[in-house]
Symmetry: D2
Subunit: 129 residues, 4 copies
Amino acid sequence: MRHLGAEITALVPGECEIQVPFREELTQQHGYFHAGVTAAIADSASGYAAYGLMPANSTVLTVEYKINLVAPAAGELLIARARVLRSGKTLKICAADVFVVKEGNETLCATTLSTIMAMQDRSDIAAGS
Amino acid sequence: MRHLGAEITALVPGECEIQVPFREELTQQHGYFHAGVTAAIADSASGYAAYGLMPANSTVLTVEYKINLVAPAAGELLIARARVLRSGKTLKICAADVFVVKEGNETLCATTLSTIMAMQDRSDIAAGS
Amino acid sequence: MRHLGAEITALVPGECEIQVPFREELTQQHGYFHAGVTAAIADSASGYAAYGLMPANSTVLTVEYKINLVAPAAGELLIARARVLRSGKTLKICAADVFVVKEGNETLCATTLSTIMAMQDRSDIAAGS
Amino acid sequence: MRHLGAEITALVPGECEIQVPFREELTQQHGYFHAGVTAAIADSASGYAAYGLMPANSTVLTVEYKINLVAPAAGELLIARARVLRSGKTLKICAADVFVVKEGNETLCATTLSTIMAMQDRSDIAAGS
């Protein structure tokens, strides 16, 4: 996230917003934000949203996500807004929308649905989910 | 892709392999390859696999993908292998597996299913898919 | 849909609601609505929502969907509400939520993201999407 | 499954095959197998494949799946073949392919990726996953 210049701009249990300002290195061939950046901040925002509903000492693991890229991410700022749809003991189901801001106007450029797992300790990760 | 140090290591119409050697900058907090890298090379390999089955002058657009992260990407090399499952005129459906290589052994760390669109010219992108 | 006893209860271009009252034949072993019913009405509602934004003589084709089943569908009525998130010329991206109603209270039991294709004539289907 | 006339035709731990012969009631408007049937047998085959790798007294819960419908399911028989890609303690990640058989020839008509949860007892279901 640091590498991308991403910043958490809002965070409450079950919700998170992450922003990334435009930088040349984050673009693909047409000068838009790269889809990899879009997916990465949607995933991170979902993870933080879920983490806020987990017990202390939990580790967050993204089990899977699905992303629809619905419009080119052409603009000066990318904003991911994630929320937990369902908070189970082991699994949190999250949705995130990613908007691109161009001259002050937000456009939806991607949307994700993801499954996040709360791991109680690191040894579980080694053993597999 | 260049940014990640990724390299196409095999390419025939309908199939593509991409490799990324380990680098400190590509890791998350536990020293594994970051999930964003895994997703990005699976997506790129799928796009190249699909592109080989499209008419000249096509532009490749990832409509959506779903990824399951099935094991930590702990190792010295990441390999994405993509293949086109179904090649329609407008849409190509692709599957990709990502393996991590540790001391010579390959382990499946992620698998994706994606929908790739062939765009005939750039103006279509502006108009929306 | 008829087979399931499903009914369209709201329909405007880009949005659709479908309801299915409880019936013994639609349940799984615990007496909840079967996940297949949940998925089927979410898919149908998405298709109708998309169809309302297509030119006349279009055929609707579900390219793919992803569903998260977030709670048991225990109740007397199932309601799917779908909306088009992005309406491209060829593809419509839709989200649908499915709620189960028990003693008057709605609970989210599933959510989907789907890609719907507008086909201009039947011959396209035979030739592949 | 009984309702659909579906039958388990192969079952070993981690793998399952389910078949459904053609019946008028399982079709959509063009006389093909309905997508709901395709999705249902892919989901069931995945669940049984996963179940074979779980401890006794486990309950199988489909957390989520993604399906790509890649060709019309036109034929006399539908076959779903599922396998577990990754068997964690809590979660099993499964892939399933669905083939339609027409005059003896198999064609891939759908493919799924799913996340299946092993629940140790029923009370967990009530409490949420």
